[in-house]
């Protein structure tokens, strides 16, 4: 049966696509420009459960960990930098957690890159675990305009 999906109002198309499963969303991105735009729009990251930043395990590195909410792939985070990312999925193939560790001189680009992809996002819980002045300064810029429900900016536990 052919479905002339695009005959429906856009809001309803998005409502239908909302119920498409993870693999279906990936496939829809390959169908055409319009379906890719719809999926990418729906998969925007608007809520981060937990964001943790600290000095990395290795000297002169920074580490960031994002715990995501929702059942959709985080397409918004695609970029060259994502090649470095390690991510964890749940049993449904849902992305739940993303970790990245980069050299100190790359942290600025990393944070700018992430920030550009979450223009409007709520961070439920933020832990910033570093005394490094550069990181403090970068994170202040990063958080500008974002909603943070709970934050802990002065933790000196070991990463």
């Amino acid at each position: 049966m052919a479905i002339e999906l695009l005959e429906l109002p856009f809001e309803m198309v998005t409502e239908i696509v909302n119920h498409v499963d993870y693999k279906g969303l990936l496939a829809l991105r390959e169908v055409c420009q319009l379906t890719k735009e719809i999926v990418d729009e729906l998969c925007k990251i608007t809520f981060i459960h937990h964001l943790y930043f600290a000095n990395g395990r290795l000297y002169n590195t920074g580490s960031i960990c994002l715990t995501l909410d929702g059942s959709r792939p985080p397409f918004a985070l695609y970029s060259d930098i994502t090649k470095e990312w390690v991510w964890t999925v749940d049993t449904k193939g849902t992305c739940k957690k993303i970790d990245v560790s980069v050299q100190k001189e790359q942290v600025s680009n990393l944070l700018e890159d992430i920030r550009s992809k979450i223009p409007q996002c709520t961070i439920d819980s933020l832990v910033f675990n570093s005394q490094d002045e550069l990181y403090v300064s970068l994170f202040e810029s990063f958080l500008e305009g974002l909603t943070v429900n709970k934050s802990c900016l002065d933790v000196y536990t070991e990463w």
Binding site: E4, N18, V20, G24, L26, C32, G70, Y78
Partner: protein
């Protein structure tokens, strides 16, 4: 307060009139708002007055669904992204939609019911019909989706290669 025995006369876009119980219309945000806000005389809510193309045949299907779901709890629960799924359509609803499979105009009927559910603000019906359509997409290959959705691939080879690279990253 809803009086279950109160009757409401609905007028369809093609001029038919259907009288139903408030027990059914309480599931329609639109009708309930119309009754409350517009202070409609004689409990008549002319559907055509709001430029909604709900014909008699579609309204009968909507009423059939409402009759089965008259005791559903209100308000309809909001779903989070985590809770969104399409494999939990109740058996009665599946059979209800399945009945149209024998008709040539199944797609048009489904679209008409989805549109009616949206315009009448019947969240349960809208949710179920959207899931039904999503299930026709789930499990299909990209080529099958293009065929089902009647969409042409308008990507360049380079764009398609980039998307496949992104998807592969996500699939892994």
């Amino acid at each position: 307060r809803i009086y279950p025995l109160m009757r409401v006369t609905l007028t369809t876009s093609d001029g038919a009139s259907v009288t139903v119980s408030r027990q059914l219309t309480k599931h329609s945000g639109f009708i309930e708002k119309a009754i409350t806000d517009m202070a409609v005389d004689d409990n008549a809510v002319p559907l055509s007055a709001v430029a909604v193309d709900v014909d008699d045949a579609t309204l009968k299907l909507v009423i059939e669904w409402l009759t089965e779901h008259r005791d559903d709890a209100l308000p309809y629960p909001e779903k989070t992204d985590e809770e969104r799924r399409a494999d939990d359509i109740p058996a009665w609803d599946q059979a209800f939609v399945q009945k149209w499979d024998t008709k040539e105009d199944q797609q048009q009927t489904l679209y008409a019911v989805i549109t009616a559910a949206d315009k009448l603000d019947i969240k349960g019906l809208l949710d179920m019909t959207c899931k039904t359509l999503a299930n026709k997409i789930n499990g299909k290959t990209v080529e099958e989706m293009r065929e089902i959705l009647q969409l042409e691939c308008d990507f360049t080879e380079e764009e398609l290669a980039e998307i496949r690279k992104e998807n592969a990253w996500c699939e892994n």
